[in-house]
Structures are given as C-alpha cells and as structure tokens.
Amino acid sequence: MKRLLRASLVASAVAALLASAAPARAQTHSPSTDWRRLDRTESLGKTSSTQQFTFELRFGQYSPEVDSKPGLGKDSTGHLPYQAVFNLDENGDALSNDQLYIGVELDYLPFRIPYIGALGPGLGWGYTHTSALAKYSADRTKVSTTSTAFTILPMHLSAVLRFDELMRRTGVPIVPYGKLGLGLGIWTASPVPRGFSGTGATWGLHFAAGVMLALNFLDPRSSARLDETTGVNHAYVFGEIMRANLNGLAATPTYYLGSTSWVAGLAIDL
C-alpha cells in the first residue's frame, strides 16, 4: 500500500511536469511567421520581479526511528515495540518501516550572497501517520478490533541556502540547496490507556540537502506571464535528502521521532 502511494506521488509529479511542458511544445510548433522571440530568458532575467520567498509542497518517505531509542526491550519474537505493533505481517515477519510523509515549507530568503545564492530562514511542517489493529497482549496471534495509531508532525526552523547564482548567471536551471536548523517532532498516539499521555514532543536537529530543477525553460513566455501576474518567479521540481535527527538533543525523550528520508515535491519562488 505504501509503495502504491509512493508510486502515485511520483506519477503525479511526472504528470504535472508533462502538463507544464505541453504548452511549451505547442509553442515550439508555432507558425514560423511569429516574429516574437521564443527564448527570452535573458531579458526575463533582467525584468523579473523580486524574489524573496520559496514555498515547497513535499512528499516522501519517513522511517520513524522510534525503535532506535537505547534501552528498549524486545518482545518474545525479538521485535522492538514500533516494529512489533505496526510493521509485522500476518506471519509475524518484519515489514518495512517506511511511512508516507507529506509536508509544506516556507522559506524567506532576504539575503543574497554574491556569486553563491540566497539565504534566509525556513519553517517546515510535515505529517506522517501509521496505524494497525492491536493484538491481544495475552495472545498475540489474535487481533482485536481496536486500532492503534501513531502520528508524527516533524517540523523545523532552519537556515536555508539556495545556490541559485548558477542559474541566474548561466541559465542552467539547477539550484542546489541546503538546510540546517532546529527540529521538533510532535507525536500523538492512540488509544491512550489510563495514566498515559497521548501526545508529546521531541526536539532535535534538522539537516537537508537537495537539488531543484527550474521548469521555466519549458515555457519561458508563460513563465514570464506568470511572474507578471502572480509574482511567481520560478517553478521547480526538487529532490532532497532530509535528516530529521529528532532524538531529544542532549536529553532522552519519550520517543525518538527522527528519520533519514528522501523527499520530492514542487516548489515556487515568490
């Protein structure tokens, strides 16, 4: 199921890319009598609106490191708690710990470093959830009708550096970037037995590195119009490796919530 979801997301991203490219192909075949320049990248670069914000729509995989917490005991079959509750098949064999992750991020990039790129803070919010039917503790071969669930909201406040000078100066539509900051994971669990707390938070560090592909080259004219009407400078697809090191910093938290994940998505510059 999770694989199917991931495949669907990738397909959606590709479809969006193709949809963006379609009008570009149409214009490539425009009548030769069209006197207008098809490629106006250079001039567009000079007249485009100011660019200070980046918004990302993010999809990916998240493998919570709940079982990485030191001191956790294993059950009689040798499985750690998170694995045992959520990721065992009918035969008791371990399944992948991967979960679907979705998120959004808004970066404010007011500082420009000459010949390097734009720098500023970014605030990200994510969501990942898993659930399973709980087994009876007295007989783990029997499954109850009660669902147990665990939700993580990975968030971060990071410094974001986007190396976009390469694109601005050479026209190569590639923008590498990096993020470093403070992470926070909010967790909720259910059901909540008497005497337990069903929610909490874990602090940590957040790192990410990725590459963005600007899509403006597919249809520069439409991109220019989009900039004029909405202020969107560029639209991107991106891929990223994200490390949410949510292990409580110097303390031992209730849950280790971190993950090393790949993330893909769409982004726009504003």
């Binding site: 200070q52 709940v66 917490k69 001191g71 956790l72 005991g73 059950d75 750690l80 708690p81 045992a84 509750v85 959520f86 404010y108 007011p110 500082f111 500023g120 803070p121 605030l123 709980a134 087994k135 009876y136 503790s137 007295a138 007989d139 783990r140 029997k142 109850s144 009708t145 009660t146 147990t148 669930a149 665990f150 968030m155 406040l157 403070l182 926070l184 909010i186 909720t188 669990a189 259910s190 059901p191 909540v192 037995p193 008497r194 337990f196 707390s197 069903g198 929610t199 909490g200 938070a201 874990t202 602090w203 409580g248 910093l249 110097a250 303390a251 031992t252 938290p253 209730t254 849950y255």
Partner: protein, 503 residues
C-alpha cells in the same frame, strides 16, 4: 408533581403573513367573512365571520427531560411527562367574535384524511366529531380576567385515558411501541360543519402526541474485549420508528450493596472459575447471590449484603448479613468456583463472575497470563427484557440512531462486566434492556502500552528537550523563535532596500 408544558405557537389568521408562528405545527383555516359555499350536505351555508387566533402562552417549557440533541417532539408527552402529569395548555383567542358561536375543541389521532367522504376521521367533519371514539371533546375554560383568553388545559394522564391508555402505559402491551400522533382542533360551533381548508375558520395544532413506550430491545449484544473498554455490537430489531440512540449499561458489581472497593468479589451469580486467594484482603463486598462453592481459607467478618447460598469452603462464611463481605486474612485456593464474596487484593478468582473481579486491578498488563475465560452474564441490577430503573447508570458514550456498535470506555482490564443495551426514542423514553451479556476488557498491544512495557516511556534530561503534551511549551517556543527570526530578517531586508533606495 404537575408540570406545565408551555408553547409559543400560533397563527394569526387575520394576518397570514404574521411572523410569530410555527406553520408546520399549526394549520388554520382562513377567515372568509360573508362568503357562501356549498357544504357537504349539498346545502348552502354562510362561512363563519370570525378569525381564529390560536396562541399558546407561557412560552417556556421545562425540557430537562429531553436530553436528546436536537430536541425533538418537545410538545409530546413522554413517559416521564406522564409520570409528572404534565399539562398542555392552549390559550385561544377568537377575534371578531360572533356571539352566536362558541369555541369548541377536540383531540383526535392525526389523520391525513381530507375528503369529506363517509368514514373520515378528521375532526373537521361533523360525522367524525359525532363519534366519541374518534374525536374527543375537550373542555374549554371560558375567558376570564386572569386568563385573558379561553383556555384548554389537558393533563397528560387525562389525555392518555381519552385514548384508552391506563395511567402512564405501564399496563400496555409490551409490543406497543408506536407513538400516537395527535391533532388538536379548535372550531366555532354551531357554524362549524364540514370545514373546508382555505375557506372556513378553524385551527389545528398537530405538534403533539403521546409516546409512553421506549423502543424495542436490541438483540445480539456482543461485548468485544478491548483495552480498558468494551466494543459492543448489537442488532436492532427495527420495529421502532423513532429510535434516537442507544444507551449502554454495565454492571461491575461494585455497587450491589455491601462494602465497596477495593476489588470486591461480591456476591454475584454462579461462578465458574477458580483461582487462588493468595493474600490478604481488605473489606468485604456483599451483594448478589452466590451459589458457587470453593475452597480456600479465609476468616471473615461479614460485611456486605445479599445472600449466599453457596457454602464454599472458602473459609469461614460470613455469619452475619450474608455473602460477600468478609475479610480474607489468609491464603487458600479456590478450586472451581468461588465462595461468596470476599475481597482479595490479588489474583483470587472467586465468587460472582458477573460482578466479581478476577484479579482485576493487579493484572500484569505487560504480560497477562491468558485471555480471561468467558464470564457469566448475571447481574443484580440489570435485568434483560425490563426497562432499566432510573437509578441504573448508563455510559455517557451512547451510540446514535442507526448504529450497530458502540464503545464503553473507562473500564478496568481484567474485570468482568455485565453489559446490556437499551434504545431510547425522540422523547427520551428508554426501551427495554437487551439480554445480558458479559465481557472482560483486557490489555492490547497498543503503541503506548507496548512501548511502556519495553521501557520506552523513560525520559531524562531537560524538559525543553523532551516534553509531554501536558507541558507543551515546545511548539509555542518554536513558533516564537520562527517569528523572531522572520521579523529580524524582514527588518534587515527593509533596511537594506531603504539604503539602496537612498543611494
């Protein structure tokens, strides 16, 4: 106790556009002054010259008994309204009175019959009004200086009697769960003959009725063990039209009389399981009837009520007020079934399955030894097929109409509970209890419980680094920090732009 049902409904016939009406509840003929039409007898009669303005004063109603949301049928008479002998009071105003006419009122079962053919039952027709079994005349109290208008006051029990219901329906057939829709008619006689809607002057209040019986009992009640709760499935017979929801009733035997907690194994019914009464007990919990026997050793000082027919070798029986009770001061074993009552603070499995506690509060929720055996559904406070008494509590988490499952939360793992379900209707009548069933909540491998059992819920270090939900300043701290950084950056950006602009 008398309770007055007050209404604020009305219809100004002289001003049909008047705003303060509940048109759905009250319909009225219009004034048709000095017009002539053919009546049902073929003759010609002159329509009444009056306009009827039926309004019901004291527009506040004690709806405390209506616990359903939204409140439905608030002008109906429920069983509790009947017990309280509530009153329906209609204040009727006749404008432009013709002294030759007088106000009369009838009540009949609601009917959709509108034709004047023979056999119709609407009290708009003179033939129906002549039949006392169809249209019941109501006494109109004349206008006085204090009432200010003619009044029709109907007490609930009187109304019931008009329709052949004894008292509040306690003696009615058990299958009679259908409500009776009523219509109140306000007419002017002798002019009123066979009245024609839209032409003649009359008023009908149709927002009332009698509903003294709760819905039929659900069947197939099956409590499924869950963690500190029971998921209850049931089947509705579908024989009642006005089911508003279902209440779940549980009996853990703790309030059957005798001494209460802790962990009483009070009275109860026949027990089937044995166990070891290993350690000391505290106070006795009587109640119920225990027919079980057992072995063991306990010296008792009886407390608790109820009776015990069980002998049990389970120590000295309470010789005072019966079963239960007793203070077990020594260990022993109960081979097959428990003796009466007694309280064991440990894992003793004795007495009264239905109400007893089989090692309840001391269950090892990380490593429970085994799924508890089926328990026996017997209770001293719940009785299948009977309407539960007012003193029997039900859970607040009731299922809505149309549901076939519900959850009874807040239970104790390892403790046996007798469960029953009863439906309630739109006016709050509670129907008969289903058959009794029994279930025992037990721990599940939920993430919090398993994690805790594997030493997961251990924290150390500063509270800032790891916080629980009840301490949660973390998110606020993160947002605050974010706003600070954004604000700082924005300020720097504005300043740099200003400087560039200045150049």
């Amino acid at each position: 106790m008398l309770k007055t049902l007050n209404y604020k409904t009305g219809h100004r016939l002289a001003r049909p556009w008047g705003g303060w009406l509940q048109a759905a509840a009250l319909t009225a003929g219009v004034a048709a002054a000095s017009t002539a039409h053919a009546d049902d007898d073929g003759g010609v009669t002159t329509s009444v010259e009056q306009s009827l303005n039926v309004s019901v004063v004291n527009p506040t109603r004690n709806v405390a008994l209506r616990t359903t949301t939204p409140i439905k049928k608030q002008h109906w008479i429920s069983h509790q309204d009947c017990v309280d002998d509530a009153e329906l009071t209609f204040n009727v105003t006749v404008t432009s009175p013709n002294t030759s006419n007088s106000l009369v009122a009838y009540v009949g079962k609601a009917t959709s019959t509108t034709s004047s053919s023979t056999g119709q039952e609407s009290c708009l027709y003179s033939e129906a009004r002549d039949k006392l079994d169809v249209c019941k005349p109501l006494t109109v109290q004349p206008q006085t200086s204090t009432t200010g208008a003619p009044r029709i006051v109907v007490k609930a029990k009187t109304l019931n009697a008009l329709f052949g219901i004894d008292s509040c329906g306690e003696t009615a057939s058990t299958s009679n769960t259908a409500p009776i829709n009523l219509q109140f008619y306000f007419l002017l006689e002798p002019d009123a003959r066979n009245l024609v809607a839209g032409t003649d002057s009359y008023a009908i209040f149709s927002g009332s009725g009698i509903d003294l019986w709760g819905p039929a009992a659900p069947t197939g009640v099956n409590p499924i063990s869950s963690d500190e709760s029971l998921d209850v499935t049931f089947v509705d017979t579908g024989s009642s039209e006005d089911i508003a929801g279902y209440h779940f009733y549980i009996d853990d035997g703790l309030n059957d009389g005798g001494a209460p907690t802790p962990a009483p194994m009070s009275g109860g019914s026949t027990s089937t399981s044995g166990g070891a009464s290993s350690t000391t007990a505290t106070s006795g919990g009587g109640g119920g009837t225990s027919t079980g026997t057992g072995t063991g050793t306990s010296t008792s000082v009886g407390v608790g009520g109820g009776t015990s027919s069980g002998t049990g070798t389970g120590g000295a029986m309470s010789t005072t007020t019966g079963a239960g009770g007793g203070t077990s001061t020594s260990s022993g074993s109960s081979s097959t079934s428990g003796g009466a009552g007694g309280v064991s603070s440990t894992t003793a499995a004795t007495g009264g399955l239905a109400t007893g506690v089989t090692g309840s509060d001391s269950i090892d929720e990380c490593n429970p030894s085994a799924i508890p055996p089926a328990c026996t559904a017997a209770s001293s406070v719940l009785f299948g097929g009977e309407v539960p008494g007012e003193d029997v509590n039900h859970t607040q988490d009731s299922a809505l109409a149309g549901a076939t499952t519900g959850t009874v939360p807040g239970l104790v793992n390892g403790r046996a509970y007798v469960v029953a379900v009863a439906a309630f209707d739109d006016v709050g009548n509670i129907g008969k209890l289903s058959e009794l069933s029994c279930g025992t909540p037990q721990p599940l491998d939920t993430i919090l419980r398993v994690y805790n059992c594997k030493n997961g819920l251990v924290e150390s270090g500063c509270g800032f680094c790891s916080v629980g939900g009840d301490r949660g300043g973390s998110f606020a701290a993160l947002v605050s920090a974010g706003l600070f950084v954004f604000g700082f950056a924005a300020r720097r950006s504005r300043r740099s732009r200003a400087e560039r602009g200045g150049r």
